[in-house]
């Protein structure tokens, strides 16, 4: 069963260069049977990156992709606080470069209007938009989005393809928040391998709206793959979650880049 991992990073992996870090990540991916990784953000992260820092982190991902482009895809890291710089970076890395998606983290709540031009441009380019979300009882970061924020964004952009990163961590609430929005997909990555998560996601969203991601290197591939391998699911659903859905979502943008799989 082919596996594509939606959600990987260069942090938490040994190595002093992006190329070496991706090589190390792939070494473990190979052991777990993971064929492709989606990478975003650089070797050292910033909650609220300046335009220069954004560019630096994206350059690191581009370096890694140049070394292992046959195994990895890139998502451009943007900061909606710098809207024009984000649009420029989106054009540089996706329209003119090899990247296939957008990564939005914790700089600003994703229901803010500053995101609108970014989402619109990403949609024109057929790029996936991955928005980190969490619902922390201990308190979110000031700009950290919730699945409810993403649901608002989804209503304003029904043509966009949006991924609810971590499904909000509190996945029971996250699934309910994104359930009505057919253009929002659930990312399984990054939380503990709590039994029942994947079954609930399939029950509430349908297997076509659930995506495997690991959040490696911070998380292990093992604990996150277990959410799919350990779930009580038909094999068809497992195939869709592990790779089929992501392949379907990426097909249009890969086609524009002349990449067939």
């Amino acid at each position: 069963m082919e596996i594509w991992d939606l959600h990987c990073h260069l942090s938490g992996v040994p190595g002093t260069t992006p190329e070496v870090r991706l090589e190390n990540l792939l070494r473990y991916a190979d052991r777990m049977g993971i064929a492709r990784l989606c990478l975003s953000m650089g070797m050292e992260w910033s909650y609220d990156p300046s335009p220069e820092k954004m560019r630096q982190e994206n350059d690191e991902v581009l370096r890694a992709l140049r070394a292992h482009g046959d195994r990895a895809f890139g998502f451009v890291y943007l900061n909606p606080r710098h809207t024009q710089a984000s649009l420029d970076e989106l054009n540089r890395c996706v329209r003119d470069g090899p990247m296939v998606g957008v990564k939005l983290w914790v700089a600003m709540h994703c229901n803010e209007p500053e995101l609108d031009p970014i989402i619109a441009r990403a949609t024109e380019l057929s790029a996936l938009v991955f928005q980190h979300t969490w619902i922390k009882i201990t308190g979110n970061l000031p700009g950290e989005s919730t699945p409810q924020d993403l649901a608002e964004l989804a209503m304003r952009h029904p043509q966009a393809t949006l991924v609810c990163g971590h499904t909000g961590g509190d996945w029971e609430t996250g699934l309910q928040a994104i359930r009505p929005h057919r253009n929002v997909y659930a990312d399984l990555a990054g939380g503990d391998p709590a039994a029942g998560f994947t079954e609930a996601a399939v029950r509430e969203l349908g297997s076509e709206r659930v995506l495997f991601g690991s959040d490696a290197g911070g998380r292990s591939f093992a604990s996150q793959l277990a959410k799919v391998h350990g779930a009580e699911l038909p094999n068809r659903a497992r195939r869709l979650i592990l790779a089929g859905n992501l392949q379907r979502l990426l097909r249009p943008i890969l086609a524009t880049k002349g990449i067939r799989r």
């Binding site: 938490g12 922390k136 029942g196 998380r219 391998h229």
Partner: protein
């Protein structure tokens, strides 16, 4: 693929099921390797109901079937009732009974003791003498005491005298996603090393420890006595490689935290890291067997 209830698993059908469930490639080489690695002892499973959601394997019969299908030969089982129930005597009796009825030789009960409750010593006696348990499981954060509490030290001393394995659970779930009315902090292990040094004969297992316990504090705790950790909450890519670079292999046990966690998470960690056969066997069963034998009831009987 699963045999019907009561139908025995053949070695081959078990291996096929385990390989399929865990995504392993079913080739002759994998089968040989799995057989060579021997038994699998899971020191961290729970029975009864998690208070906050229904879990796919929270019926003991289903849990046992799941564990068996993955080659688990022994599982040390606590009870989720031990977190919040006041009547731990009843909770422990149910645990012992469920292990007998459904365990079919796999489940070993580890009763819950709360040293802040009146006459907890009687619950401890029943665990050892009535239910013939080989160990106990503690939840200091749910029971509202810290590890410098003299009652905790007294409990460790009595458990050591009875030669019971003591499991201390540091967390049950990610504190960021707890129910707003059921929030507890992770257990602070800072006072533990000093206490362990004062109690000869104590066999201590820290459950769900590797989420919060790392680096020098982990090392000093392992150095303090017969202290082990298990891998249910170990994270990071190549997590076992990283852990074994700083931790003696003989202090690491296999633990899944099933059924609250997918069992496969722990199982796949053994695959993600490139373990030597020695390391794999130690983690899968040799370390737990050593601990189990050291806590032999013969010593208690004397």
């Amino acid at each position: 693929m699963n045999p019907s209830p009561g139908q025995p698993w053949s070695r081959r059908s078990f291996l096929k099921a385990a390989a399929t469930a865990s995504g392993l490639t079913l080739v002759g080489q994998e089968i040989c390797r799995a057989e060579a690695l021997g038994p699998l002892i899971d020191v961290n499973v729970g029975l009864s109901r998690w208070p906050l959601r229904h879990l796919p394997c929270d019926e003991p019969g289903r849990l046992v079937a799941k564990l068996r299908s993955h080659g688990v030969t022994q599982a040390w089982a606590g009870t989720f009732d031990g977190l919040l129930h006041k009547d731990l005597a009843a909770a422990n009796a149910r645990l012992a009974e469920d292990c007998r009825r459904f365990g079919r030789g796999i489940l070993l009960p580890f009763g819950s003791i709360n040293p802040t409750r009146p006459d907890w010593i009687e619950e401890l006696r029943r665990c050892a003498q009535v239910h013939h348990m080989r160990g106990i499981r503690l939840h200091p954060n749910y029971h509202g005491y810290t590890l410098d509490d003299p009652r905790f030290k007294q409990l460790l001393q009595r458990a050591a005298e009875l030669n019971l394995i003591v499991q201390v659970t540091l967390v049950m779930e990610d504190e960021r996603m707890m129910h707003p009315r059921l929030r507890v902090d992770p257990v602070d292990t800072e006072p533990l090393a000093a206490t362990v040094k004062q109690i000869p004969g104590l066999h201590l297992v820290l459950l769900n420890a590797l989420r919060t316990l790392r680096g020098p504090r982990l090392s000093s705790l392992l150095d303090a006595g017969d202290v082990c950790v298990e891998l249910a909450m170990l994270e990071g890519v190549g997590g076992l490689d990283n852990l074994l670079a700083q931790t003696p292999t003989d202090r690491v046990l296999f633990g899944s935290h099933a059924p609250l966690f997918y069992f496969e998470a722990a199982e796949l960690k053994l695959k993600e890291s490139l373990l030597t056969t020695h390391q794999a066997r130690a983690i899968r069963f040799e370390n737990a067997t050593r601990l189990f034998d050291a806590a032999s009831p013969h010593r208690w009987a004397r």
